[in-house]
Protein backbone atom coordinates (compact mmCIF):
# COMPACT_ATOMS: atom_id res chain seq x y z
CA UNK A 1 0.00 0.00 0.00
CA UNK A 2 1.35 3.42 -0.92
CA UNK A 3 1.35 6.42 1.42
CA UNK A 4 -1.24 8.15 -0.78
CA UNK A 5 -3.71 5.26 -0.43
CA UNK A 6 -3.03 5.07 3.32
CA UNK A 7 -3.84 8.76 3.84
CA UNK A 8 -6.84 8.43 1.52
CA UNK A 9 -8.28 5.72 3.78
CA UNK A 10 -7.41 7.90 6.78
CA UNK A 11 -9.40 10.73 5.13
CA UNK A 12 -12.37 8.40 4.57
CA UNK A 13 -12.46 7.48 8.28
CA UNK A 14 -12.11 11.16 9.29
CA UNK A 15 -15.16 11.98 7.14
CA UNK A 16 -17.18 9.31 8.98
CA UNK A 17 -16.01 10.52 12.42
CA UNK A 18 -16.76 14.16 11.60
CA UNK A 19 -20.19 13.26 10.26
CA UNK A 20 -20.97 11.25 13.41
CA UNK A 21 -20.03 14.21 15.65
CA UNK A 22 -22.10 16.52 13.43
CA UNK A 23 -25.20 14.31 13.70
CA UNK A 24 -25.13 13.11 17.29
CA UNK A 25 -23.83 15.98 19.44
CA UNK A 26 -26.52 18.57 20.29
CA UNK A 27 -23.92 21.18 21.34
CA UNK A 28 -23.63 23.56 18.33
CA UNK A 29 -19.92 24.21 18.88
CA UNK A 30 -19.31 20.44 18.77
CA UNK A 31 -21.29 20.30 15.53
CA UNK A 32 -18.97 22.98 14.11
CA UNK A 33 -15.96 20.93 15.25
CA UNK A 34 -17.49 17.89 13.53
CA UNK A 35 -18.00 19.92 10.36
CA UNK A 36 -14.31 20.89 10.43
CA UNK A 37 -13.20 17.29 11.10
CA UNK A 38 -15.28 16.22 8.11
CA UNK A 39 -13.78 19.04 6.03
CA UNK A 40 -10.26 17.92 6.93
CA UNK A 41 -11.11 14.43 5.69
CA UNK A 42 -12.53 15.75 2.41
CA UNK A 43 -9.43 17.89 1.85
CA UNK A 44 -7.25 14.86 2.55
CA UNK A 45 -9.09 12.80 -0.10
CA UNK A 46 -8.62 15.66 -2.57
CA UNK A 47 -4.94 15.87 -1.56
CA UNK A 48 -4.52 12.16 -2.27
CA UNK A 49 -5.98 12.70 -5.75
CA UNK A 50 -3.42 15.50 -6.16
CA UNK A 51 -0.54 13.32 -4.94
CA UNK A 52 -1.48 10.52 -7.33
CA UNK A 53 -1.51 13.03 -10.18
CA UNK A 54 2.23 13.68 -9.80
CA UNK A 55 3.61 14.41 -13.27
CA UNK A 56 5.71 16.85 -15.26
CA UNK A 57 8.38 16.94 -12.57
CA UNK A 58 5.94 17.90 -9.79
CA UNK A 59 5.26 15.67 -6.80
CA UNK A 60 1.54 16.46 -6.97
CA UNK A 61 -1.09 17.89 -9.29
CA UNK A 62 -1.15 21.65 -8.46
CA UNK A 63 -4.81 22.15 -9.47
CA UNK A 64 -6.46 20.11 -6.66
CA UNK A 65 -3.79 21.45 -4.29
CA UNK A 66 -4.91 25.01 -5.05
CA UNK A 67 -8.54 23.94 -4.60
CA UNK A 68 -7.72 22.65 -1.11
CA UNK A 69 -6.07 25.98 -0.16
CA UNK A 70 -9.17 27.86 -1.31
CA UNK A 71 -11.29 25.30 0.55
CA UNK A 72 -9.44 25.79 3.85
CA UNK A 73 -10.00 29.56 3.70
CA UNK A 74 -13.69 29.19 2.77
CA UNK A 75 -14.18 26.61 5.55
CA UNK A 76 -12.75 29.12 8.00
CA UNK A 77 -15.20 31.81 6.77
CA UNK A 78 -18.14 29.43 7.22
CA UNK A 79 -16.88 28.43 10.67
CA UNK A 80 -16.56 32.07 11.75
CA UNK A 81 -20.12 32.84 10.62
CA UNK A 82 -21.50 29.69 12.28
CA UNK A 83 -19.70 30.52 15.53
CA UNK A 84 -21.12 34.07 15.50
CA UNK A 85 -24.60 32.54 15.11
CA UNK A 86 -23.98 30.24 18.10
CA UNK A 87 -22.86 33.14 20.30
CA UNK A 88 -25.95 35.13 19.27
CA UNK A 89 -28.16 32.11 19.97
CA UNK A 90 -26.80 31.83 23.49
CA UNK A 91 -27.22 35.60 24.06
CA UNK A 92 -30.84 35.53 22.93
CA UNK A 93 -32.02 32.21 24.33
CA UNK A 94 -29.63 31.75 27.25
CA UNK A 95 -28.86 28.14 26.36
CA UNK A 96 -26.38 26.47 24.03
CA UNK A 97 -27.96 23.33 22.68
CA UNK A 98 -29.81 22.31 19.57
CA UNK A 99 -31.57 19.49 21.43
CA UNK A 100 -35.29 19.90 22.05
CA UNK A 101 -35.87 21.73 25.31
CA UNK A 102 -38.18 18.95 26.51
CA UNK A 103 -35.65 16.14 26.08
CA UNK A 104 -33.68 17.31 29.12
CA UNK A 105 -36.58 17.03 31.52
CA UNK A 106 -38.57 14.09 30.11
CA UNK A 107 -36.83 11.12 28.63
CA UNK A 108 -40.11 9.30 28.06
CA UNK A 109 -41.22 11.19 24.94
CA UNK A 110 -38.22 9.89 23.01
CA UNK A 111 -37.25 13.27 21.60
CA UNK A 112 -33.68 13.53 20.42
CA UNK A 113 -31.49 16.24 18.95
Amino acid sequence: MTSATLFGLCGAILIGLGLFELITDPHPLRKILGFNLLGGGVFLVLGVVARRGAAAGYLGDPVPQALVITGIVVAFSATALAVALVVRLSEVSGRVSLAYASSEQTDSDGAEG
Binding site: A54, F76, V96
Partner: protein
Protein backbone atom coordinates in the same frame (compact mmCIF):
# COMPACT_ATOMS: atom_id res chain seq x y z
CA UNK B 1 11.17 3.70 1.78
CA UNK B 2 10.16 1.23 4.46
CA UNK B 3 10.95 3.72 7.23
CA UNK B 4 8.86 6.39 5.48
CA UNK B 5 5.89 4.03 5.33
CA UNK B 6 6.19 3.22 9.03
CA UNK B 7 6.23 6.97 9.81
CA UNK B 8 3.13 7.42 7.62
CA UNK B 9 1.27 4.57 9.34
CA UNK B 10 2.14 6.06 12.72
CA UNK B 11 0.97 9.50 11.62
CA UNK B 12 -2.33 8.07 10.29
CA UNK B 13 -2.98 6.19 13.55
CA UNK B 14 -2.15 9.28 15.61
CA UNK B 15 -4.47 11.55 13.61
CA UNK B 16 -7.34 9.02 13.80
CA UNK B 17 -6.78 8.71 17.56
CA UNK B 18 -6.94 12.49 18.02
CA UNK B 19 -10.06 12.72 15.81
CA UNK B 20 -11.73 9.92 17.79
CA UNK B 21 -10.80 11.70 21.03
CA UNK B 22 -12.38 14.97 19.79
CA UNK B 23 -15.62 13.07 19.18
CA UNK B 24 -15.54 11.11 22.44
CA UNK B 25 -14.32 13.66 25.01
CA UNK B 26 -16.99 15.31 27.21
CA UNK B 27 -15.34 18.69 27.75
CA UNK B 28 -15.79 21.03 24.79
CA UNK B 29 -12.66 22.93 25.83
CA UNK B 30 -10.65 19.71 25.53
CA UNK B 31 -12.26 19.03 22.15
CA UNK B 32 -11.17 22.46 20.87
CA UNK B 33 -7.59 21.89 22.03
CA UNK B 34 -7.78 18.48 20.35
CA UNK B 35 -8.88 20.20 17.16
CA UNK B 36 -5.79 22.45 17.16
CA UNK B 37 -3.61 19.34 17.54
CA UNK B 38 -5.59 17.67 14.75
CA UNK B 39 -4.86 20.63 12.44
CA UNK B 40 -1.13 20.49 13.17
CA UNK B 41 -1.03 16.71 12.57
CA UNK B 42 -2.95 17.26 9.35
CA UNK B 43 -0.30 19.72 8.18
CA UNK B 44 2.33 17.02 8.80
CA UNK B 45 0.29 14.74 6.54
CA UNK B 46 0.31 17.49 3.89
CA UNK B 47 4.10 17.59 4.10
CA UNK B 48 4.15 13.80 3.57
CA UNK B 49 1.89 14.27 0.52
CA UNK B 50 4.40 16.83 -0.84
CA UNK B 51 1.88 19.65 -0.66
CA UNK B 52 3.92 22.22 1.29
CA UNK B 53 1.65 25.12 0.32
CA UNK B 54 -1.33 23.34 1.85
CA UNK B 55 0.70 22.36 4.93
CA UNK B 56 1.45 26.04 5.59
CA UNK B 57 -2.17 27.07 5.03
CA UNK B 58 -3.52 24.26 7.23
CA UNK B 59 -1.14 25.07 10.08
CA UNK B 60 -1.81 28.81 9.87
CA UNK B 61 -5.54 29.04 9.10
CA UNK B 62 -7.04 25.56 9.59
CA UNK B 63 -5.36 25.05 12.94
CA UNK B 64 -4.11 28.44 14.18
CA UNK B 65 -6.72 31.04 13.31
CA UNK B 66 -9.64 28.57 13.61
CA UNK B 67 -8.27 27.52 17.02
CA UNK B 68 -8.13 31.14 18.16
CA UNK B 69 -11.70 31.67 16.93
CA UNK B 70 -13.03 28.60 18.76
CA UNK B 71 -11.21 29.42 22.00
CA UNK B 72 -12.53 32.99 21.92
CA UNK B 73 -16.04 31.59 21.38
CA UNK B 74 -15.75 29.17 24.30
CA UNK B 75 -15.02 32.07 26.64
CA UNK B 76 -18.37 33.61 25.62
CA UNK B 77 -20.61 30.59 25.97
CA UNK B 78 -22.19 29.76 29.33
CA UNK B 79 -22.25 25.95 29.22
CA UNK B 80 -18.99 24.18 28.64
CA UNK B 81 -19.64 20.45 28.79
CA UNK B 82 -21.29 18.47 26.06
CA UNK B 83 -24.69 16.93 26.74
CA UNK B 84 -25.03 13.71 24.84
CA UNK B 85 -28.29 12.82 23.18
CA UNK B 86 -29.41 10.08 25.51
CA UNK B 87 -31.01 7.91 22.87
CA UNK B 88 -28.65 4.96 22.34
CA UNK B 89 -30.39 3.48 19.31
CA UNK B 90 -30.24 6.84 17.55
CA UNK B 91 -26.48 6.99 18.13
CA UNK B 92 -26.15 3.40 16.90
CA UNK B 93 -28.01 4.11 13.66
CA UNK B 94 -26.02 7.32 13.11
CA UNK B 95 -22.78 5.37 13.70
CA UNK B 96 -23.83 2.71 11.22
CA UNK B 97 -24.71 5.36 8.64
CA UNK B 98 -21.35 7.17 9.09
CA UNK B 99 -19.41 3.88 8.90
CA UNK B 100 -21.22 3.14 5.63
CA UNK B 101 -20.22 6.57 4.22
CA UNK B 102 -16.58 5.98 5.26
CA UNK B 103 -16.60 2.52 3.72
CA UNK B 104 -18.02 3.83 0.43
CA UNK B 105 -15.35 6.55 0.20
CA UNK B 106 -12.62 4.05 1.15
CA UNK B 107 -13.75 1.78 -1.69
CA UNK B 108 -13.51 4.71 -4.11
CA UNK B 109 -9.99 5.50 -2.82
CA UNK B 110 -8.83 1.94 -3.40
CA UNK B 111 -10.40 1.87 -6.88
CA UNK B 112 -9.03 5.21 -8.12
CA UNK B 113 -8.10 4.98 -11.83
CA UNK B 114 -4.58 3.99 -12.87
CA UNK B 115 -2.77 5.96 -14.29
CA UNK B 116 -4.20 8.86 -12.32
CA UNK B 117 -5.63 11.74 -14.36
CA UNK B 118 -3.57 14.90 -13.88
CA UNK B 119 -3.44 18.51 -14.99
CA UNK B 120 0.21 18.90 -13.91
CA UNK B 121 1.63 18.96 -17.50
CA UNK B 122 -0.86 21.68 -18.51
CA UNK B 123 -0.09 23.65 -15.34
CA UNK B 124 3.62 23.33 -16.06
CA UNK B 125 3.29 24.31 -19.74
CA UNK B 126 1.60 27.60 -18.87
CA UNK B 127 4.19 28.72 -16.29
CA UNK B 128 6.52 30.68 -18.64
CA UNK B 129 3.60 32.84 -19.77
CA UNK B 130 2.57 33.54 -16.15
CA UNK B 131 6.13 34.26 -15.03
CA UNK B 132 5.92 32.52 -11.63
CA UNK B 133 7.69 29.29 -10.69
CA UNK B 134 5.26 27.89 -8.08
CA UNK B 135 2.50 26.04 -9.99
CA UNK B 136 0.06 26.34 -7.06
CA UNK B 137 0.43 30.14 -7.10
CA UNK B 138 -0.08 30.07 -10.87
CA UNK B 139 -3.32 28.11 -10.43
CA UNK B 140 -4.57 30.37 -7.62
CA UNK B 141 -3.76 33.72 -9.22
CA UNK B 142 -3.77 33.06 -12.95
CA UNK B 143 -5.48 29.90 -14.25
CA UNK B 144 -8.26 29.95 -11.67
CA UNK B 145 -8.00 33.59 -10.57
CA UNK B 146 -11.79 33.85 -10.76
CA UNK B 147 -12.10 31.29 -7.93
CA UNK B 148 -9.67 33.26 -5.81
CA UNK B 149 -11.58 36.46 -6.52
CA UNK B 150 -14.87 34.83 -5.45
CA UNK B 151 -13.16 33.50 -2.34
CA UNK B 152 -12.23 37.08 -1.38
CA UNK B 153 -15.91 37.96 -1.81
CA UNK B 154 -16.91 34.99 0.40
CA UNK B 155 -14.60 36.24 3.18
CA UNK B 156 -16.14 39.73 3.04
CA UNK B 157 -19.69 38.30 2.91
CA UNK B 158 -18.98 36.10 5.95
CA UNK B 159 -17.84 39.21 7.82
CA UNK B 160 -20.97 41.13 6.74
CA UNK B 161 -23.06 38.21 8.01
CA UNK B 162 -21.10 38.15 11.26
CA UNK B 163 -21.44 41.90 11.86
CA UNK B 164 -25.13 41.87 11.07
CA UNK B 165 -25.64 39.61 14.11
CA UNK B 166 -24.77 42.53 16.39
CA UNK B 167 -27.51 43.99 18.57
CA UNK B 168 -28.93 47.24 17.11
CA UNK B 169 -27.33 49.46 19.76
CA UNK B 170 -23.89 47.95 19.06
CA UNK B 171 -23.93 48.44 15.30
CA UNK B 172 -20.80 50.29 14.20
CA UNK B 173 -19.19 49.72 17.59
CA UNK B 174 -16.02 47.89 18.51
CA UNK B 175 -15.71 44.10 18.71
CA UNK B 176 -13.94 42.70 21.76
CA UNK B 177 -11.14 40.35 20.74
CA UNK B 178 -10.10 39.17 24.18
CA UNK B 179 -10.34 40.52 27.69
CA UNK B 180 -6.80 40.69 28.94
CA UNK B 181 -5.52 43.09 31.52
CA UNK B 182 -2.02 42.71 32.84
CA UNK B 183 0.11 45.69 31.87
CA UNK B 184 3.34 44.03 33.04
CA UNK B 185 2.69 40.55 31.72
CA UNK B 186 5.07 38.57 29.55
CA UNK B 187 2.46 38.79 26.76
CA UNK B 188 3.15 42.50 26.39
CA UNK B 189 6.86 41.80 25.99
CA UNK B 190 6.10 39.19 23.33
CA UNK B 191 3.75 41.59 21.56
CA UNK B 192 6.57 44.14 21.41
CA UNK B 193 9.24 41.68 20.26
CA UNK B 194 7.51 39.34 17.81
CA UNK B 195 5.62 41.61 15.35
CA UNK B 196 8.69 43.03 13.54
CA UNK B 197 9.91 39.47 12.92
CA UNK B 198 6.41 38.27 12.03
CA UNK B 199 5.83 41.06 9.53
CA UNK B 200 9.18 40.31 7.92
CA UNK B 201 8.29 36.60 7.68
CA UNK B 202 4.93 37.55 6.13
CA UNK B 203 6.59 39.75 3.50
CA UNK B 204 9.07 36.95 2.74
CA UNK B 205 6.29 34.36 2.42
CA UNK B 206 4.35 36.63 0.07
CA UNK B 207 7.39 37.29 -2.10
CA UNK B 208 8.77 33.76 -2.15
CA UNK B 209 5.30 32.35 -2.89
CA UNK B 210 5.79 33.23 -6.54
CA UNK B 211 8.48 30.59 -6.97
CA UNK B 212 8.49 28.44 -3.82
CA UNK B 213 5.93 27.18 -1.29
CA UNK B 214 4.27 30.10 0.44
CA UNK B 215 1.98 32.83 -0.78
CA UNK B 216 -0.68 35.36 0.03
CA UNK B 217 -2.88 33.30 2.42
CA UNK B 218 -0.01 32.15 4.58
CA UNK B 219 1.32 35.71 4.74
CA UNK B 220 -2.18 36.95 5.66
CA UNK B 221 -2.47 34.49 8.52
CA UNK B 222 0.94 35.61 9.81
CA UNK B 223 -0.03 39.30 9.67
CA UNK B 224 -3.36 38.52 11.32
CA UNK B 225 -1.60 36.67 14.15
CA UNK B 226 0.74 39.60 14.76
CA UNK B 227 -2.11 42.11 14.75
CA UNK B 228 -4.16 39.98 17.18
CA UNK B 229 -1.15 39.64 19.47
CA UNK B 230 -0.70 43.42 19.73
CA UNK B 231 -4.43 43.95 20.32
CA UNK B 232 -4.70 41.25 22.99
CA UNK B 233 -1.64 42.66 24.76
CA UNK B 234 -3.31 46.08 24.76
CA UNK B 235 -0.66 47.79 22.59
CA UNK B 236 -3.13 48.55 19.80
CA UNK B 237 -6.83 49.29 19.93
CA UNK B 238 -9.39 47.24 18.09
CA UNK B 239 -10.77 49.49 15.31
CA UNK B 240 -14.43 50.47 15.31
CA UNK B 241 -16.43 48.57 12.71
CA UNK B 242 -17.74 51.81 11.18
CA UNK B 243 -14.19 53.09 10.66
CA UNK B 244 -13.83 54.10 6.99
CA UNK B 245 -10.18 53.05 6.73
CA UNK B 246 -10.99 49.59 8.14
CA UNK B 247 -13.91 49.06 5.77
CA UNK B 248 -11.83 50.25 2.80
CA UNK B 249 -9.05 47.81 3.77
CA UNK B 250 -11.51 44.92 4.09
CA UNK B 251 -12.85 45.33 0.56
CA UNK B 252 -9.51 46.33 -1.02
CA UNK B 253 -8.53 42.72 -1.87
CA UNK B 254 -11.68 41.93 -3.84
CA UNK B 255 -11.65 45.45 -5.37
CA UNK B 256 -8.06 45.10 -6.59
CA UNK B 257 -9.00 41.81 -8.21
CA UNK B 258 -12.08 43.33 -9.82
CA UNK B 259 -10.10 46.31 -11.16
CA UNK B 260 -7.47 43.99 -12.59
CA UNK B 261 -10.22 41.83 -14.07
CA UNK B 262 -11.84 44.71 -15.92
CA UNK B 263 -8.43 46.06 -16.97
CA UNK B 264 -7.98 42.69 -18.67
CA UNK B 265 -10.85 43.59 -21.02
CA UNK B 266 -9.00 46.71 -22.15
CA UNK B 267 -5.49 45.30 -22.41
CA UNK B 268 -5.82 41.68 -23.49
CA UNK B 269 -9.51 41.40 -24.35
CA UNK B 270 -10.99 39.19 -21.63
CA UNK B 271 -11.86 39.27 -17.92
CA UNK B 272 -8.90 38.65 -15.57
CA UNK B 273 -6.47 38.12 -18.46
CA UNK B 274 -2.92 39.29 -17.85
CA UNK B 275 -0.66 40.71 -20.58
CA UNK B 276 2.18 38.12 -20.86
CA UNK B 277 5.07 40.54 -20.26
CA UNK B 278 3.64 42.02 -17.07
CA UNK B 279 1.88 38.94 -15.67
CA UNK B 280 4.16 38.44 -12.66
CA UNK B 281 4.26 42.16 -11.81
CA UNK B 282 0.45 42.30 -11.92
CA UNK B 283 0.10 39.13 -9.81
CA UNK B 284 2.38 40.53 -7.10
CA UNK B 285 0.61 43.90 -7.34
CA UNK B 286 -2.79 42.29 -6.68
CA UNK B 287 -1.37 39.98 -4.00
CA UNK B 288 -0.22 42.86 -1.76
CA UNK B 289 -3.67 44.48 -1.15
CA UNK B 290 -5.16 40.98 -1.06
CA UNK B 291 -2.80 39.87 1.73
CA UNK B 292 -3.55 42.96 3.84
CA UNK B 293 -7.30 42.67 3.21
CA UNK B 294 -7.40 38.96 4.11
CA UNK B 295 -5.33 39.59 7.25
CA UNK B 296 -7.77 42.29 8.39
CA UNK B 297 -10.76 40.07 7.54
CA UNK B 298 -9.31 37.15 9.53
CA UNK B 299 -8.81 39.36 12.61
CA UNK B 300 -12.33 40.82 12.35
CA UNK B 301 -13.87 37.36 11.84
CA UNK B 302 -12.12 36.06 14.97
CA UNK B 303 -13.23 39.15 16.92
CA UNK B 304 -16.87 38.60 15.93
CA UNK B 305 -19.77 41.07 15.91
CA UNK B 306 -19.29 44.54 17.43
CA UNK B 307 -20.18 44.48 21.13
CA UNK B 308 -19.91 47.95 22.53
CA UNK B 309 -19.81 51.59 21.53
CA UNK B 310 -16.65 53.54 22.16
CA UNK B 311 -16.57 56.08 24.97
CA UNK B 312 -15.75 58.92 22.57
Amino acid sequence: MMVALIVDVGLAILILFVAGWIVAVRSTFAAVIGFVVYGLLLSLVWVRLWAIDIALTEAAIGSGVTGALLLRTLSRLPVEHSERSANGSFRFIAGLFCAFISLAIAMVIVALPEPAPTLAPEASAGLPAVGVGNPVTAVLLSYRAFDTFLEKVVLVLALVGCWSLAADRDWGGTPVLWRYSDPDGVLKFLAQTLPPIGVLVAIYMLWTGADHPGGAFQASAMLAAMWMLTIVAGLMRMPRTNDDLLRLTLVSGASAFLLLGFAGFGIVGSFLAYPPDYAKALIVAVEIPMTIAVAATLVMLVAGPPQRRDMS
